[in-house]
C-alpha cells in the first residue's frame, strides 16, 4: 500500500520528465520527425498508416469509430472513406478507434477544440454526444453515419440505404439457391444489421415466395469461430446460400461455406479474395461515397443540417464482378440479377414501399 501514496505524483512527474526530454529531441530533429513517423508506421502497420501523418491542408477531418479499423466491416469501410477524404480533398485526417461509449463526448470535444472542421461519428450511437458538442462548436460540422437526428445548424447525418443493401443481397441469394433455403448470420442487434437481415430475407422471398430464409444473431463481432458454428447449423438445416454481417467475425461464415462447398455472398466490402471459389459476388456498401460526399460539402461550406441518403442509384451500393463464378452461373441467373439491379436503380422496385419501412 505504501507504494501508493505517491502514485499520482509519480505518474505525473515521470510523464513530465519524459515529455520534457522528448520535447527537445523533437525540436532538434525538426522536419525529420515527420518522415520518421511515416517510415516507422509504414514498416509497422502497412502503408495505410503512413498516410495518417498530420501534415498539410487546412481542412481537418476527424473520425470516431466504435470498433477497430481492421474489422473487415463497418469500421474498416469508414476508415477507407477517411483515406479517400485525405487524398481526394487534401484533408488532414485523424481517427480514434474502439472509442468507449462514455468517452464519445470527450473525444468529440477534444477534436472540436483542436480546430478540426469536420467530425464524423460512425454510427447512430454517437448522436447524443454530437448533439451536445455541436451546440458548443457552431463553426464545426458534425456528421453521424446512419443516424436519424439532425440539429441546426451543424449536425447532419449521412447513410447508405441498409434496406436496399439487404434487398439486393437477398434477391441474389434467391436467384442462386437450389434448395430454396437461404440463411444469414448477423453479429448483433443494430439498426444496420437488423435492416440488412430483414430485407435480405424479404428480398429472397420476393424473388420466389417458396424460398424460406433464416436469420441468426451470433451475439459477437469478434468471435469468428462462433459465427462459423452458427453458419454450419444453418447449412445442416439445408441452406445453400449464406451471407453475413458481423464485421470480422463474419469471416467465420465464409469459412463454413467454403468447408461445406456452398455459395456465399460477401457484404460490406469485396470479400471474394477471402475465398474466391465460395464468394459468388459481394454487395458492396460504399461508405466512402456517403461520408466523402458529406465531407466535400463541409469543405465547400455547403453541409446542411439534414439527412443525406445514398443508395444503388448513387453508386453507393453495387455488386462486384462474379470472378470465378463467371462461368459457373447460367445466363438466366445473371440476367435475373442484373434485372433486379436495373429495377432498383430506376426506382421501379421501391424497397421501402414494399416493406413498409
Amino acid at each position: 500500500m505504501k507504494n501508493f501514496f505517491a502514485f499520482l505524483l509519480a505518474a505525473s512527474i515521470t510523464a513530465v520528465s519524459l515529455s520534457g526530454c522528448g520535447g527537445s529531441a523533437a525540436q532538434s530533429s525538426g522536419s525529420k520527425s515527420g518522415d520518421a513517423a511515416d517510415q516507422g508506421s509504414a514498416a509497422s502497420a502497412g502503408s495505410e498508416q503512413a498516410s495518417e501523418s498530420k501534415a498539410g491542408g487546412e481542412f481537418k477531418v476527424a473520425m470516431l469509430l466504435p470498433g477497430t479499423i481492421n474489422d473487415q466491416g463497418w469500421n474498416a469501410e469508414a476508415y477507407k472513406a477517411l483515406q479517400a477524404i485525405e487524398s481526394g480533398l487534401g484533408a488532414e485526417a485523424a481517427y480514434s478507434e474502439s472509442v468507449p461509449q462514455s468517452d464519445y463526448e470527450q473525444v468529440m470535444r477534444g477534436y472540436a477544440s483542436q480546430g478540426f472542421n469536420f467530425i464524423v461519428g460512425h454510427g447512430y450511437q454517437f448522436s447524443d454526444a454530437a448533439k451536445i458538442v455541436a451546440k458548443e462548436f457552431p463553426d464545426v460540422d458534425f456528421c453521424i453515419t446512419n443516424g436519424t437526428e439532425t440539429q441546426e445548424p451543424n449536425l447532419a447525418t449521412t447513410s447508405v440505404d441498409s434496406y436496399e443493401f439487404g434487398f439486393l443481397s437477398g434477391t441474389v441469394a434467391g436467384v442462386l439457391t437450389k434448395s430454396k433455403k437461404v440463411g444469414i448470420v448477423v453479429g448483433e442487434s443494430s439498426p444496420v444489421m437488423n435492416a440488412f437481415s430483414d430485407s435480405y430475407l424479404f428480398g429472397a422471398s420476393y424473388h420466389d415466395s417458396s424460398i424460406t430464409g433464416k436469420s441468426i444473431t451470433a451475439g459477437t463481432l469478434e468471435d469468428a469461430s462462433k459465427c462459423k458454428e452458427n453458419a454450419l447449423n444453418l447449412i445442416d438445416d439445408g441452406a445453400d446460400v449464406l451471407t453475413q454481417m458481423a464485421n470480422q467475425a463474419g469471416l467465420g461464415v465464409i469459412n463454413a461455406c467454403e468447408e461445406r462447398g456452398i455459395m456465399n455472398l460477401g457484404s460490406n466490402g469485396d470479400q471474394a479474395p477471402v475465398a474466391p471459389d465460395t464468394v459468388v459476388t459481394s454487395v458492396v456498401q460504399d461508405m466512402s461515397k456517403a461520408i466523402y460526399a458529406a465531407a466535400e460539402k463541409s469543405k465547400n461550406g455547403e453541409l446542411e443540417a439534414k439527412s443525406y441518403n445514398f443508395g444503388i442509384k448513387d453508386g453507393a451500393l453495387y455488386l462486384t464482378p462474379f470472378g470465378n463464378f463467371e462461368d459457373k452461373l447460367t445466363q438466366e441467373q445473371k440476367d435475373a440479377i442484373s434485372g433486379y439491379l436495373e429495377k432498383l436503380k430506376s426506382g421501379e422496385i421501391d424497397v421501402h414501399a414494399l416493406m413498409g419501412k
Binding site: M1, A10, A26, P100, Q101, D128
Partner: protein, 350 residues
C-alpha cells in the same frame, strides 16, 4: 543512534521514490515501443499527460473515469475482504445501469432531490440482486463464486441487450437504446464547464464508509475474520453464511452503483455493450490499491489517467489504441511486481 535515524529517513525516501521509479520504468519500456513504431516518445507522453491532467476539462474526464472505477474496485475489494473472488463487477454494473435507467426514464415529475437518490438506490439494488444471487448460490449450494460471477457477466450483458431491443426500447425509435432519462435524474455537475458530476464525491464518501465499516465496526471486523478463516469464524460463533451473503450483496451493490454512475452521470441512456470493461479494470484497481480505501482511490486515479490520456494519444498522434493498451499493461505489471523494492531489499540483506 543517529545512524539509525538516518537509515529510517533513507527508508522513507525510498518508499516514496519506489512507485515513481516503477511508473518511470514502465513508461520507458512503452517508450521503446513507441520509438519502434516511429513516433517520438517525449511527444506521446506529453500528449498523454496533457490529456489526463492538462486542463480543467481533462482533469474532470480523468476523475469521471475514476468514479466508475472506484465503485467497481470496491465491488471486488468488498467481496475480497470476506474471502470471495468477485469477477462479476461487469455484470453487476450492467444490472445496476439497467435498473437506474428504468427509474430515470419512467419516474416523472419528481424533484432532483428525490429522483437522484431513488435512481441511485435502484442502481445499487440492481447490482446487489445479482451479487446476492451469487451469495445465495454460494451459501445454499456451495457454488464457487468465480464460476457463477464469470457466467453471470454474460447473462447480464445479454439481458441488457434484450432489454434495450425489447421491453425498454425507446418508443418510437429504430435504435437498440432506451429513452433518455429525465433531467431530474442527472447527477449534479460539480465543476462548471466540465462533465464532472457529484458521483465523484459520492465515490469518495463510499470509500470512507467502506473503510469505516471494515476497520472500525464490529460487523466489519467479523466480515474480515470470515474472510481470513471461515473455520475459525464459525468456531467463534460467527454467522459465516450471513456474512458471505451480506458481502456479496454489498459488493454487487457497489458494482451496480458503478453502472448507475455511468448512466446517471455520463451517458443518460442505456445501450447494449455500453461498458468498456470497467468491471474487469476494477479488479486491478482494487488489488493494486491493496483493497484499502486510499489505495483504491489512488489506483483509480492512475487508471482514469491512463484511459483519459490514452484517448488523447489516439486523438492527436498516430499511435494506435493497441499500443496504448500495451503501455497500460506495462504500468500495471511494473507497479505490481515492484522491482525496485525487491532489488533494494536484496542489497540490504547483503
Amino acid at each position: 543512534m543517529s545512524e539509525k535515524i538516518g537509515n529510517k529517513k533513507l527508508g522513507q525516501v525510498r518508499e516514496i521514490a519506489k512507485p515513481f521509479i516503477s511508473v518511470f520504468l514502465a513508461l520507458l519500456c512503452g517508450g521503446i515501443i513507441i520509438e519502434i513504431i516511429g513516433e517520438n516518445m517525449g511527444n506521446i507522453y506529453q500528449i498523454m499527460f496533457t490529456g489526463a491532467f492538462g486542463n480543467r476539462i481533462n482533469i474532470a474526464e480523468t476523475l469521471i473515469k475514476s468514479t466508475t472505477l472506484i465503485f467497481t474496485g470496491m465491488s471486488y475489494a468488498f467481496a475480497y475482504k470476506c474471502g470471495l473472488i468477485n469477477i462479476g463487477a461487469e455484470g453487476q454494473l450492467y444490472m445496476g445501469a439497467a435498473l437506474s435507467t428504468w427509474i430515470g426514464v419512467n419516474l416523472t415529475g419528481l424533484p432532483a432531490a428525490v429522483h437522484i437518490p431513488v435512481a441511485l438506490l435502484a442502481g445499487f439494488l440492481g447490482g446487489a440482486l445479482l451479487g446476492g444471487l451469487v451469495g445465495w448460490l454460494k451459501t445454499r449450494f456451495d457454488a464457487n463464486e468465480v464460476i457463477t460471477t464469470v457466467m453471470l457477466n454474460y447473462v447480464a450483458q445479454y439481458l441488457v441487450s434484450w432489454l434495450v431491443t425489447g421491453p425498454m426500447k425507446e418508443q418510437p425509435g429504430d435504435f437498440p437504446q432506451t429513452a433518455m432519462t429525465q433531467e431530474s435524474a442527472y447527477l449534479l455537475n460539480i465543476l462548471p464547464g466540465t462533465r464532472l458530476h457529484m458521483g465523484f464525491v459520492l465515490a469518495i464518501i463510499a470509500l470512507v464508509l467502506y473503510g469505516v465499516f471494515l476497520w472500525h465496526t464490529s460487523s466489519g471486523y467479523e466480515m474480515r475474520i470470515v474472510g481470513q478463516n471461515n473455520k475459525v469464524a464459525a468456531y467463534a460463533g460467527m454467522n459465516v453464511k450471513g456474512n458471505v451473503m451480506a458481502a456479496m450483496f454489498i459488493a454487487g451493490g457497489c458494482g451496480g452503483l458503478a453502472g448507475a454512475m455511468e448512466i446517471l452521470g455520463v451517458q443518460h441512456r442505456l445501450l447494449q455493450n455500453f461498458s468498456s470493461g470497467y468491471g474487469f479494470d476494477g479488479i486491478a484497481v482494487s488489488l493494486l490499491g491493496s483493497n484499502n480505501p486510499l489505495g483504491i482511490f489512488l489506483s483509480s486515479i492512475l487508471f482514469g489517467a491512463l484511459k483519459s490520456g490514452g484517448n488523447a494519444v489516439q486523438m492527436f498522434s498516430n499511435v494506435p489504441a493497441a499500443i496504448i493498451n500495451i503501455i497500460q499493461a506495462l504500468v500495471i505489471i511494473f507497479v505490481v511486481i515492484d522491482l525496485v523494492s525487491k532489488l533494494w531489499r536484496k542489497k540490504m540483506v547483503k
